[in-house]
Amino acid sequence: MSIIPAQPRRPRPDFTLNIINVVFLLLLFYLVTGSLAKQAEIEADVPVTANLPLERLPRPLLLVTAAGELFIDGQPVSRANLDAAVREVLARHEDGAFLNILADRSMPASLFLDIVARAGAGGAPLRLVTLRQRLEPAK
């Protein structure tokens, strides 16, 4: 038997709760700031602007690829049926919903205007999705 008294056992620190806190914060961050996007929407070369307020990727979204293919919320649409498809998708959303157009920045403007005119033929309010980019300061 030892003369020196045994030291009381120190409770081992448990980091589990701290880790959960951090992970919860990360989860909240991605939930609040992120927008679920489809692969083709991520890959599109979005036109850039500099002075507009920030937004999340909105829905319904009409994706116009550089080749002129059309997708509404991931579903392919032909140019001839675009007006009907736009009416259908806007009917599923609340009143006053905009059709948001995400077009490749390098596509010809005349083709883009033709598609936009077809999409807005039924009087649907339209918005163009752009990527906000900070302007380089003038040297």
Binding site: T16, L17, I19, I20, V23, F24, L26, L27, Y30, L31, T33, G34, S35, L36, A37, E41, I42, V46, P47, V48, T49, A50, N51, L52, P53, L54, E55, R56, L57, P58, F98, N100, I101, A103, D104, R105, S106, M107, P108, A109, S110, F112, L113, D114, V116, A117, G120, P125, L126, R127, L128, V129, T130, L131, R132
Partner: protein, 139 residues
């Protein structure tokens, strides 16, 4: 009576399944969400230009004060060429002279990025923008 019947079960709070689910959610949102800084640009009126129509004759509303032909990197106002980066300042100056509405015509060289930059520049001076697109059969 057995002692085990009366023994109260100790409730143990197991965190591991919770952490597993949270981690899975976190990975899902990290991989699938876009946190790109999007901005939305309202698209104004679009008027079809049929064959033989004059470009400066919109269907209804007030007559435009100025017609701009959008090309790649610049706009042409009559004989004058205005680089797109200088357009915001020019529009601000023209606003002081009473011009606050524009008709945009896309040339064959214009791209979507040019249209977006022009719309953003004119929008900063709170100008009304009408875009003209060539319908089938137009020159």
């Amino acid at each position: 009576m057995s002692a085990s019947i009366h023994r109260r079960r100790r409730v143990v709070f197991v965190l591991t399944p919770l952490i597993d689910v949270i981690f899975l959610l976190l990975i899902f949102f990290m991989l699938s969400s876009q946190i790109a800084p999007y901005s939305l640009l309202p698209i104004g009126r679009i008027v079809g230009q049929a064959a033989g129509d004059m470009p400066s004759a919109p269907a209804e509303g007030t007559l435009p004060s100025m017609t701009l032909r959008v090309a790649h990197g610049f706009v042409a106002a009559g004989e004058e060429r205005i680089p797109i980066p200088d357009l915001a300042a020019t529009a601000e100056r023209l606003r002081g002279e009473g011009i606050s509405s524009y008709v945009l015509i896309a040339s064959s060289a214009a791209q979507v990025q040019d249209m977006v930059s022009v719309m953003e520049a004119l929008g900063r001076s709170e100008a009304a923008v009408t875009m003209l697109h060539a319908q089938a059969g137009a020159p």
